[in-house]
Subunit: 260 residues, 3 copies
């Protein structure tokens, strides 16, 4: 399914996307998902996630501001997603910065997400190699994460997506690079987390590899267009939502994607 | 009290509004309340809410990102509001999506809020009828919620307000419709939650029915004006805060309100 | 170190700033810190803060939306900062509104923050005098807080910074006033909390008194410039991030600072 067809499906179906994300990303991730055309729902309590997951078109889990109660909700939700065949996306934010976080990310990965999205440092470290990330920002380049992404895709049977100036997406067999976006994007907080939510939205309406590519293309296209209107990170964030909303299926250029 | 007089009172008194809201709405609800002219305070811990409620002019409770500890704080705060005669507003976000949430909303409703605000699906389902909502977005039209709203107003002795393209507000005896706003508003997350906070702000300075109408008129007026400046949801959100702030008492047109 | 030299160091080192802040401020504080040139990380769980603090260049603690689990994380982080010589900043938001919050602020203050930042009411009340604040907004003027700030600086051996239309910063011996900013800033929520995060960023690259002054000058300069572009609080917030990002070391005018 092409990115254009995927966006058409998204707009037609307005899928419900169950997002368990961090406090920094809550608002912007909901706004990104909503502007793109889906219906986000932020629900995290262990008492209710298993009831909500089967109603949703997809689930996304992001460990940015982790705590014990939330991890409990995340695992419960992931297990529910697996048993009800709801696709789910894992975003292992800065998983390598503490032993607690590293363990949590591994436990979630062991539950076999449909799609794994991170920056280069996160993917490299998750594959067991040594990266140079610090905090939530990547210290590595996407190019250096290709092998790690392919290894993780094979090991866990998932799609792996690496965000950066040129994105890389693979299911272990087929891989794609996406160009676009803007250098200003890393200066706006939680855009990567918001992309994870958008990948979830597309995964509700398209096959997992195509869905991931479509979300990245929608994001890259909106980012590139927003940068032309923006003065800095503040005006960029507003323009970015405007562009995500305004983009039509025919605007998602396949020339942004190189398959190999 | 007219909407104009209520806004005049709001700006003169700058009431302290105690908001217990969800993580998505935290920032925008505070900004909406602040831009309109009140002083919001986000405080949720069971250890302190009962001490803070009596200082506040009003309390608002929104169950968007519910959890056990927060529900405990919400109930404690509602009970404190009742015993100190502080008006309080309940926003039962997506209460029908899980049994856990349904029970929580009912428990809070049993504590008799001064004002209940929701979208059409939330109000219809709360009255015991079958709605067609999914997640936090309404699948029903406000017109179809009039009877449910009146039934709930009578049953719980509260004002009930239903948000939509034409809003409906009733205390069971007197009812009003409000026109205004913009189609773009549902594409910005947590605006309904922010309206709940604004209803709280007005409830601190005006009788409950007039307060609710005034908050909705202020919101509708700002929304309509912001839409003329906005390109999409991102620029709308910024323009909306600007308009809420810039509106003067004489701008709150009574022609937006139809009483019946 | 001058504000210009401090900004130059900030941009060169891109320090990792560990922020434990409130739900309202999470996004804007991260965006402010990122736009200024640092790398924020929001991590609060007691299970991991002590592992993360030693990696960070500074820690900031803000009690805006306090709860028991978070207070536990805050204390653990502060103790870790002290034992690993990481500078830390305390923001005792509205500490005087409930006994629970007052006790929490005192416990954190007893752990001896490197820098204490608050509004006039918060500083006056913390020094044991009677202020007239309500909620998170100051009811007092910065001028009336000079003595309280100096007393606290002497008592706890920290830098004390008081935000207002003219800011005041002291280490008990040397004091500075900072002019700039805009009257519109108090109408945007969590800007004070965001300034606390920015003080942390500068404290990672400059001596504590100079760092605090530099953060306030950067903030005041950006605020003054953003106000000329803004229509109201919504457009101000976006413009403010743009200006924080665009400002270069030579733009941080020392004429904003009066030492005495």
């Amino acid at each position: 399914m092409t990115p254009s067809a995927a966006l058409e499906a998204l707009r037609a179906q307005v899928p419900l996307v169950h997002c368990i994300t961090n406090y920094v990303a809550m608002n912007i991730a909901a706004n990104v998902t909503l502007a793109a055309g889906a219906s986000p729902a932020m629900i995290h309590a262990p008492e209710e996630v298993a009831n909500f997951v089967p109603i949703a078109g997809a689930l996304t889990i992001n460990i940015g501001t982790l705590s014990a109660a939330w991890l409990d909700g995340m695992k419960t939700a992931a297990i529910a997603a697996n048993s009800s065949n709801v696709p789910w996306v894992l975003d292992p934010v800065a998983h390598f910065v503490t032993p607690y976080r590293r363990k949590a990310a591994q436990e979630l990965l062991n539950l076999k997400p449909t799609i794994l999205r991170g920056n280069a440092s996160e993917i490299i470290e998750l594959a067991g190699a040594a990266g140079s990330g610090k905090g939530a920002d990547s210290g590595d380049r996407v190019n250096d994460a290709h092998n790690s992404a392919q290894a993780l895709a094979a090991r866990y049977g998932c799609v792996v997506a690496v965000s950066g100036s040129v994105d890389f997406i693979t299911d272990g067999s087929n891989s794609a690079s996406i160009i676009g976006g803007s250098d200003i994007m890393p200066t706006v907080t939680a855009l990567g987390c918001s992309l994870t939510a958008l990948v979830g939205a597309y995964a509700a309406v398209a096959p997992r590899l195509d869905a991931t590519v479509a979300a990245f293309v929608h994001f890259a296209e909106a980012g590139e267009r927003a940068a032309t209107d923006a003065i800095g990170p503040g005006t960029f964030a507003a323009a970015f939502l405007d562009k995500l909303y305004a983009l039509e299926p025919e605007n998602l250029e396949e020339t942004r994607v190189s398959w190999f």
